[in-house]
Amino acid sequence: MTAQLPALQILLPMLASALCVLLRSPAGAWLCFTLATWASFAVSVLLVLATRSGAILSYEMGGWEPPFGIELRIDALNAFVLLIVSGMAAVMAPFARSSVLAEIEQTRVYLFYALVLLCLTGLLGISITGDAFNLFVFLEISSLSSYAIIAMGPNRRALLAAFQYLIMGTVGGTFILIGIGLMYMLTGTLNMADLAERLPAMADSRTEKAALGFIVVGASIKLALFPLHAWLPNAYAYAPSLVSALLAATATKVAAYVLIRFIYTVFLPERAFDGLMLSELMMALAAIAMIAGSVVAIFQHNVKLLLAWSSIAQIGYIVLGAALVTTAGLAATTLHLLNHAVAKGCLFLALGVIVWKTGGARLSDLAGLGRTLPWVGAAFVIGALSLIGVPFTGGFITKWYLLVAVAEQELWLLAGAVVLSSLLSIIYMGRVIETLYFRAPSQGTTRSEPVPVLMLSSVWLLALLNVAIGSYSEPFAAIARTAAGQLLGGTP
């Protein structure tokens, strides 16, 4: 049974997606979605337990021996990303029920769930596969389905946002395809571990450098690393609430994983960072993203847009850790994948409840809601504190690890950028919290029925998770250190 776990991880959401289409009823599709995400979460927990001590699982898809067949390869980092993706989907499933019914047309609800499951299949597939071309295919599965679910947003702007994402996402995906093609021409293999063994013989070839360049740019588009972030704010702001929360918590994390996996496992850091100034470039872009994203977030009136710009700043932290090329930096990045997912997921879900209640996400819609919806307000505050990095929240843990890693290298300017970005996040989060608690409630029409318990349970589960990780981070930190060690120790 356990031998088949890697295959189940992708198959569960994929088959559930087809089942949703057959079921057709909104309630049936939701139940199918919930059960599939929970089962997939259980599988990823088992995978984490199997790999956390540094073991590597390899699964031969269809019984074809690697490097000829497709290999699923799971080390500590893969398992951790799988845990984040499936965990976020599992936590958000109860929230989905009322939110989706309120925002999506009745007749399209089952299609919506089918697409969300397909998107999850793609994201899990990217994280689990050990084959470079297979990664591209899963990338396109997740991208195509996410364009479609973003376009299902209630406002017509969702359509244009999805279209712009489609254009940029396809260019990004095609860049990755070119990079993989160039590597294949050099080595004749597509298996990542095999590529890592064969590429050093081609170390001086310009083709290899070009391949690395194409993949880094392609992954950076998907990751929305400054200055390739243009698609992200509108896509997150106008998508349905569930999609904003889910994509903000998982999609960019998986793109970050792709970047790290290619640089560290396939190209090996000593060659990837040598002679191309890649490390310096990534650090500079990360620092600009941290500050520019935060500054733009301060001036937003739509809270969904504000959170989206804050995501661009947070991606800066993730890339910064990866650019340091040290165990401490990579561990900070790995931890931040989790902590940002939990904090941003919590904020977007709390906002989703407010959208469900008031029908809007502008600052004026939030006025005074902290008093009328105390539980939602409190969860939002916890998420905000974690995003800022206050002690006893997950955000503090990663900022601490990141600052230690930056200080280790004596890069004081970057340490200053991290602190400045945190201070700026106090300003934009403070604005939202001030509106939530200290403004007179607006006279707009709100739903009269109370907030469903299922919705609140998702929001609070994430809020408590923020505090739990902040108070007791050791199990996750240990996995992050193992993952960082494996990445720097050559091929996993």
Partner: protein, 121 residues
């Protein structure tokens, strides 16, 4: 001269890629952007297919033993990429239809003006 003619496949790839990329960036019409994207992707298809070509090779079909044939794997890979390209085009065109229904235009400039007008009052 030798490298220029010897690698002319790759020159075609680069030229096509740049033409496609330019259309995506420069044109406001959403349908033209999709056409540009298609040209851009086609360039990558040629890049892969060129890699599998062997001088004097035939199609990779099981026949007489010892025959020289082209490398079949790039063909298979690009078949998958073509499917992805078709799906992307279909989704893009479907979105354009919906955008035209919602805004009454498929020129990006007009759409942005309409969005801004909605914001101002």
């Amino acid at each position: 001269m030798q490298t220029f003619l010897g690698l002319y496949n790759f020159w075609v790839v680069i030229v096509l890629m740049m033409i496609g990329f330019y259309i995506v960036i420069a044109h406001d019409n959403l349908v033209k952007k999709i056409i540009g994207l298609n040209i851009f992707q086609t360039a990558v298809f040629i890049l892969y297919i060129s890699a599998g070509k062997i001088q004097g090779g035939t199609a990779p079909i099981l026949g007489e033993p010892g025959a020289v044939y082209s490398h079949p794997l790039p063909h298979v890979l690009i078949l998958t990429a073509i499917v992805v390209g078709v799906a992307t085009t279909a989704l893009g065109l479907a979105l354009i239809v919906r955008i035209h229904e919602a805004y009454g235009s498929n020129e990006e400039d007009d759409l942005l003006v309409l969005d801004r007008r909605e914001d101002s009052p």
